[in-house]
């Protein structure tokens, strides 16, 4: 009998292993990263991640976890399995958000204090370049073909299009107040930029050669919710281009937007101050960080419903899911 159970356990482990991914949540106030299992949605562990961890991402092979330790003025790199800190990267002061080249190298970091985007070589751990951008650089994105890195500057209110071959800004697009986050559609034809204070998501059409044109803006409206609290932050798009999810900060909602018509079709209630978003690799689930309720909300993407909330550390900020 004992043997039978052991076999079952092995089987179930294997079965889970095929579907489960680790979910890493940075806790801005708790100074930790919480690790969840994307199958059971249980907390596996919580480990120290430096002072004020915010932006978080993972290498394409799933081995390295990068964390912006904002108050340490550096990027901390952890082993994604053992959670041990391996080394740090020189990000410049107060790193908040970054984006990794699809190859895993380099890392592009928004450096808010110096109005710079810093390009860090993830192999040599050195700074390759500093690119002057607008005031308070924040959001970072990279085009699917990796030809352009996007930076949004919060006080200049622009999306800067940085050519990854020569680190020169080739285009600037004005968006609404305090642009927070940028996200390309998977086909690279649209760039979405959220403006927290402006309350909109700008839709920027990208031509074949990468030239951007501002085509429209998505606004939000929820009966009974003051418009001031509909503050778009994190943005995620499904790979089939059908759906766009936008975290709306202090309104405690995620907007679901039709990827074709760009109409908001639904608002999903989440925890408080919903900030950043991440899909599981199969895009069945979307995880939201909720800074003021210390939890994450799990959204069933197809049903467009919140199915669960899980307590994590103090003031969860960023989230990334390990690749398959």
């Amino acid at each position: 009998m004992k043997r039978l159970i052991a076999t079952c356990l092995t089987f179930s482990c294997l079965a889970t292993g095929a579907f489960a991914n680790k979910v890493y949540v940075s806790n801005e106030k708790g100074n930790t990263v919480t690790v969840l299992d994307s199958d059971s949605w249980e907390v596996l562990t919580e480990f120290p991640a430096g002072n004020r961890p915010r932006g978080i991402t993972i290498s394409p092979d799933g081995k390295l976890l990068y964390v912006c330790a904002s108050d340490d003025d550096m990027v901390r790199v952890f082993d994604a399995e053992s959670y041990e800190e391996l080394y740090t990267l020189p990000s410049g002061p107060d790193p908040e958000l970054f984006v990794l080249h699809p190859s895993g190298n380099p890392l592009y970091v928004a450096n808010e204090d110096d109005n710079l985007v810093t390009v860090i070589d993830t192999e040599t751990h050195t700074v390759r370049a500093g690119i002057p951008v607008g005031v308070e650089p924040e959001g970072m994105a990279i085009s699917p073909d990796a030809k352009f890195v996007i930076n949004t500057s919060e006080t200049t209110n622009m999306a800067h299009f940085i050519d990854t071959s020569d680190y020169k800004i080739k285009h600037n697009i004005l968006v609404d107040q305090r642009p927070r986050y940028a996200q390309y559609s998977h086909d690279g034809k649209i760039l979405y930029v959220s403006a927290e204070i402006g309350g909109t998501v700008s839709i920027i059409d990208i031509a074949e050669d990468g030239t951007p044109t501002l085509s429209d803006k998505i606004s939000f409206e929820v009966p009974g919710v003051q418009p001031e609290w509909l503050q778009p932050v994190g943005v995620r798009t499904t790979s089939d281009g059908k759906w766009i999810f936008v975290a709306l900060g202090p309104s405690n909602r995620v907007a679901v937007i039709d990827g074709q018509s760009h109409e908001v079709v639904k608002y999903i209630m989440t925890g408080q101050r919903v900030w950043q978003l991440a899909f599981t690799p199969d895009e069945k689930f979307l995880i939201t960080t909720n800074g003021n309720s210390n939890d994450v909300t799990i959204i069933d993407v197809e049903a467009q419903k919140a199915i669960k909330s899980v307590q994590v550390g103090q003031q969860p900020w960023g989230v990334v899911v390990a690749p398959d």
Binding site: V135, T156, I169, L174, Q177
Partner: protein, 393 residues
Amino acid sequence: MRHFLSVLLVGICAAFATVAQAVEIRATVFRIDYPQLAPISRYDLNPDDLGFAGALLANEDNQTTGNFMGQTWTLDTVTTTPDEADAVFDALMSEGAGIIITMARADDLLRLSDRAGDKVLLINALARDTALRDGECRANLLHVAPSDAMMADAIAQFAMWKKWSDWFLIHGSNSADTALAEEYRRAAKKFGAKIVEQREYEDTGGSRRTDTGHVLVQRQIPVFTQDARDHDIVIAADASDVFAPYLPFNLWTPRPVMGSSGLRPVTFHAAHEAWGATQFQRRFEELTNRRVREEDYQAWLALRVIGEAVTRTGEAAPGVLRDYALSDAFELAAFKGQKVTFRQWNGQMRQPILLYDDRITMSVSPQEGYLHQRSPLDSLGLDMPESACTAFN
């Protein structure tokens, strides 16, 4: 036809780009330095670059954006005395100054705005007199400085949120103090508080600072505040900086103090970190080697209004910038968690007010639950039906 249309569009875009590429903007900060008594607290000594430092940072911020837009920004800073203000101002006018950020008291400001005429845009970064947003408003004068009415309402909302509705109002004897006291009476009525006791603390002059002044103060204030009717809080209206800092801990009945000391309404302070403000603090301190003051933030805000209007309109003409700032399209992020905009009926900037205990942001008004059909921010200060301003009609 389709071909023609796209050519036309390219043409428009190119023209737009050319327009956007050659904007030169010159702004002036005009500050009148008044003879002033030493403050009660050394922390309140005015630095020489008060206000100018904030404008300098805004000019840098504007130029960083301007580099991408083809804008060139120039900032002039001018100080003068009350006696020479008119002559210096006229000289500025004759040099063609069109955008002037003012740090002047209400009576001077009104005179200057009447001298300036409608070709000039003035932005008030200092004077809080509610009358400037009421019957004494001027069409060429916008206010980024909040009114005393907004400040009093910010305190009143917080007190009512706490259900501290019985107030003991202590005000100074100078006209600015009694005017401030009147704002608190109006705010009490507006939000349902009751002023159960009022006393005037007379300004008898004399030196502000002596070696052992606290010994006397510690005996005087309890006596001054004894036998008051039951109250929840003490509201201090002391625009002249004569007594308010002495009230906390010296009251006869132990009660929180709000207004001119204790919990104070401010536009900004050097410890404010929420909503990205830390970055403002770091930029400011790196540039100026000191901590930010309200006057600096207000000057920064005034010049950022201009920066935003220039960026969105591609023009530098004062009239165009004024109209844009007053339009529905205008919005600006100001480290207050929501956009700031202008009231179209009196040129007053809507803005959240920080409640500050001289260490941290204790709260931010408007408070939860104070709703308004336009914006909760309009629950602070003169609302459209209350304002007698007609210059913006």
